[in-house]
Point group: C2
DNA sequence: ACGAATAACCTATCATCGATAGCCTATCTT
DNA sequence: AAGATAGGCTATCGATGATAGGTTATTCGT
């Protein structure tokens, strides 16, 4: 069933190069415009200027393409948080600032954020393939940075287990606001900026 | 473009009766077993014992069937929260219990919850048509009950505007946990039950 | 009681989707 | 120049949601 993953056993080549990047860029754009599962492989191919079956020379299937776009979205988030964490370590800002970075990232990159956290169906590959899910790995990295920041802020008065609870809870709370603002922009929200400030200050209170 | 919605202008009849209920019940069961978008109309029809095109005598399309299943799920949530709110008014329980009801519902009805609050791309129809999305409406009703409960709990020491801030923030926090647990079940979460308790107690602290 | 209306269902068929099979062509290496 | 290979093509598949049009059976007015 499962294919051996030796160096020459890949039935489908995974070339690297500009073409592949073009495809990923086009897919990201289309996913963002119309929603991931509303975009067909034919649309992606047309956007790049190749035929639909040609996609399968670069990606074994549609899921793999989606997964890679998602992974890159996470990497972008990770780099932002890394920068925020560095500022926090230098004492230039507090944890609330980091929360604000997180929320702002989600609102400024709705496509990437949606792909990262608002997937309709969790990737089944991540279960079958034995935990080698690159998307999950990328997400974990971003979360670990956030947890590190929380750990720095609350000091050493907390056991690691409790820190984990706290970090997961705070992450969920932040995500909730981003997620709802993105999913239901028409809801009669309070003034967005003030709501965000209010929420963040409560989350890290 | 838009069809006139007079009493006789419906192109597809929407009969009521036991058959229609059978279909909804079968769909609910299948959606729960395999996930909503992994179930085909042919499977639903087979479960009821009719042909696939026969479904379209009862529902104009697949989305309408999904929407009705989800709307009914949210009516269940509303009734649960209503009961919880009544208990709270009688002083039999606290607001945390209501939070728990909300979270539990989301986890037990992932498809309905996803459809209401985790849409990838908000349905443009629901914007144009003036917010007639029945699923969203059902979800909002639940929120309003929650807000009422928050108002009761914090007492009258809060201006309505501040209550709105608080309720929206708390709702977002609750939603965040539900949303992440649904979207990323493979994430190394702390023990689910304890995480939920921890999170809720923090949200309403 | 009888014929028409209608509810409920069928088969046959479509267009579209993701995916596969098999062939062609330009470029690069030796 | 010959061969290998990256990259692409057309043709086609099975599955899916949806439509068209005909058929049966129950209900209902006369």
């Amino acid at each position: 069933m499962l294919m051996k993953s030796g160096p020459e056993s890949a039935r489908k080549p995974r070339p690297v190069g500009p073409r592949r990047e073009e495809i990923l860029a086009a897919a990201l754009k289309l996913f963002g415009e119309h929603g991931m599962h509303a975009v067909t492989t034919r649309q992606i191919a047309a956007a790049v200027g190749i035929s639909q079956p040609s996609l399968y020379a670069f990606f074994p299937n549609r899921q793999a393409l989606e997964a890679e776009v998602c992974t890159r979205a996470f990497e972008e988030l990770t780099s932002r948080i890394t920068a925020g964490l560095a500022a926090l370590k230098r004492g230039n800002s507090g944890i609330c600032k980091l929360g604000r970075i997180y929320v702002d990232f989600g609102l400024e990159n709705p496509d990437a954020y949606r792909l990262a956290f608002m997937v309709e169906k969790p990737d089944p590959v991540s279960i079958v393939s034995g935990g080698e899910d690159p998307i999950l790995a990328a997400g974990l990295k971003a979360f670990h940075l956030l947890r590190e920041a929380v750990g720095l802020t609350v000091g050493s008065g907390l056991r690691p287990q409790e820190l984990e609870f706290l970090a997961q809870s705070q992450w969920a709370a932040l995500h909730g606001l981003v997620s709802l603002l993105l999913a239901r922009p028409n809801f009669p929200w309070r003034k967005r900026n003030r709501l965000i400030e209010f929420h963040i200050s409560r989350v890290f209170a």
